[in-house]
């Protein structure tokens, strides 16, 4: 093997199949790389011993002819998925010592398909953030650096998962996407990430942020790697009443590279004020690539695009304030003693949560409180319905939508916006599809003038992840993006 770390997931599966390397060898290489890249702080908890045990078991299964979809592949798990016996922090102080006694459905499925767990990856606290800087366990950095040499954000909330794949300290990772938490970090770290349709992957055992928006997905080096891993994660789960009972197609088989006659929508409202020229150029390049492959580029309009972020910042905090009510110092997590029960609650939560989480709980509580519920929360739910309808109308004319993933390349950790609203604007292109529950993928398509990765986003119709992957595969082939 030249260098085991350079293999894509698809290549690694084939090398394992051909006995060119064992899962133990592959896993050892990744453990060494976890060591070598520890300064990026991509992992909150490393589990090398578990990884080696799982790798040995995988090699034994393979020798016995029992081969799963992810057999022997070392992966990182976003520290939002409960893992039985392994601490799950959600990036929060309040869950610092939380060791789940059960396994999330998604990780159960991945492990039953042979995946090997390297550790739990860093994230914004309770997945609330776009830079990984709200994590209690410290900033995470992207392995990409511009000429200034300053550490760049990997994006968020799944920053550690994206950084690990880019830095080759995991072959692939899980993520979750509530408003862009897979697609934005994928763009910033020069890798590929997919958020499937809401309901495709079970949320059971995933620490909840905003339940009507949260959706597990994954990161990989290539579009095909995303297809393989999503295949292993997706599917109906009776334990999640919002998961969809619908057959999961063979995603890999849907990547044909043939998009002749496909109609790709270009929403004019995504040309936002102040968008850098290089983003505009990349987007145009993406259109040209698709047109060259035989697709028809169609101008479309999604007039409520600029209302998506305000809608999101009512609905997501409202749901978060309700979901996070469970952290009360009684059943699990941190407890800070107080004068009485109410005081114990307030102290536990006041000391256990970070500033961004507190802000969102406060906003959520406010918009749900008597006298404001209709003006804020119900209004946002109405506008959300209108945003969904706009997408569904547009999908009568087009098969998929192409947009930039982010309005800029990754910012430096030092110059990150301190004003919450400025930080929220990072997700301007990813939030609309989240509100509509649509599948979306970001792939690296070029470099900024500073030499940092820029992503393009492909959005699809509900449950058409295969179409999204296929369109993305055409862009990937044309872009020829050089990975780290």
């Amino acid at each position: 093997m030249s260098n085991a770390l350079d293999l894509t997931l698809a290549d690694a599966l084939s090398a394992l199949e051909k006995k060119e390397l064992s899962s133990v060898e592959l896993t050892e290489a990744y453990i060494a790389q976890m060591d070598a890249t520890r300064d990026l702080n991509a992992y909150i908890t490393e589990t090398p011993d578990i990884a080696l045990d799982m790798a040995k078991a995988s090699d034994a299964r393979r020798a016995a002819g029992d081969v799963g979809l992810m057999e022997g592949v070392p992966v990182g798990i976003k520290d939002l998925f409960c893992t039985e016996g392994t601490r799950t922090t959600a990036g929060s102080h309040i869950l610092e010592n939380f060791v789940p006694t059960y396994e999330s459905t998604v990780t159960t499925k991945l492990f039953s398909q042979g995946a090997v767990m390297l550790g739990k990856t860093n994230l914004d606290e309770f997945a609330m953030g776009s830079s990984n800087q709200t994590s209690y366990y410290g900033d995470c950095a992207s392995p990409w650096k511009a000429a200034d040499g300053k550490a760049r954000t990997p994006g968020g909330s799944s920053g550690g998962s994206a950084s690990a794949v880019a830095a080759k300290s995991a072959l692939a990772t899980t993520g979750t996407d509530t408003g862009g938490s897979i697609r934005q970090p994928a763009a910033f770290c020069g890798i590929t990430g997919i958020k499937p349709t809401y309901g495709r992957c079970s949320r059971w055992g995933v620490v909840a942020f905003a339940s009507s928006l949260d959706q597990p997905g994954c990161f990989g080096r290539t579009v095909e790697d995303n297809a393989i891993m999503l295949q292993a994660m997706a599917g109906y789960d009776p334990k999640d009443s919002t998961s969809i009972d619908r057959a999961v197609p063979d995603y890999r088989a849907q990547i044909t590279g043939d998009i002749k006659g496909k109609k790709i929508g270009i929403p004019k409202e995504y040309r936002v004020d102040g968008m850098p020229q290089e983003i505009e150029k990349l987007w145009q390049q993406g259109m040209d690539w698709l047109r060259d492959a035989g697709a028809e580029i169609v101008d479309i309009s999604l007039p409520l695009t600029d209302k998506a972020l305000p809608t999101y910042y009512i609905i997501a905090p409202a749901e978060a304030s309700s979901n996070l009510a469970r952290y009360d110092g009684v059943r699990y997590g941190l407890r800070v003693e107080g004068a009485d029960l109410d005081d114990m609650y307030a102290k536990t939560r006041g000391q256990g949560f970070g500033e961004e989480v507190k802000r969102r709980i406060m906003i959520g509580t406010y918009v749900l409180s008597a006298g404001y519920y209709d003006a804020y929360y119900n209004k946002a739910r109405r506008v959300r319905k209108m945003i969904l309808n706009e997408f569904l109308d547009v999908y009568n004319q087009v098969d998929a939508i192409l947009t930039p993933t982010t309005p800029s390349a990754a910012f430096t950790l030092d110059d990150a916006p301190t004003d919450p609203v400025t930080m929220y604007l990072n997700d301007v292109f990813t939030v609309p599809a989240s509100l509509a529950g649509l599948p979306g993928l970001s792939l690296p398509a070029g470099l900024s003038s500073e030499g940092l990765p820029l992503g393009l986003q492909v959005l699809g119709k509900p449950f058409e992840e295969g179409e999204v992957l296929n369109v993305a595969s055409v862009l990937e082939a044309a872009a020829g993006f050089q990975r780290l």
Binding site: N97, F98, V99, P100, T101, Y198, G199, S212, P238, S241, T242, I244, L304, K307, P310, T311, Y313, I314, S321, A325, D328, G329, V330, R331, Y332, G333, L334, R335, G338, D340, L341, Y345, A346, K347, R349, G350, Q351, F353, K358, R359, I361, M362, I363, T365, Y366, V367, S369, Y376, K379, A380, R382, V383, K385, L388, D419, P420, V421, L435, A436, G437
Partner: protein
Amino acid sequence: MAIDRDTVTRVAFLSRLEIEDAQKDAMTHDLSNILTFVEALNDVDASGVEPMTSVVEAYAPLREDQVNDGGYPDKVLANAPDRVQDFYAVPKVVE
């Protein structure tokens, strides 16, 4: 919409969040900015639109009314900060 310190104090109580006095001005400022930002929705005429509950065609799945899980108090209580026998323990709530 700008909110004031008293509102922050009231919402913090509803949220059961202890916010130190020194933090309240910053919180008031940030929350006011966020609320001003989301008021962009005032420009949208959404009358006659049903508030959305789910992006998926949600239905309540039915199953047989049978006990199919449970019976492991030690697992349930494994992460409890305080327990007495098979119960969670909390500070005294009844005088």
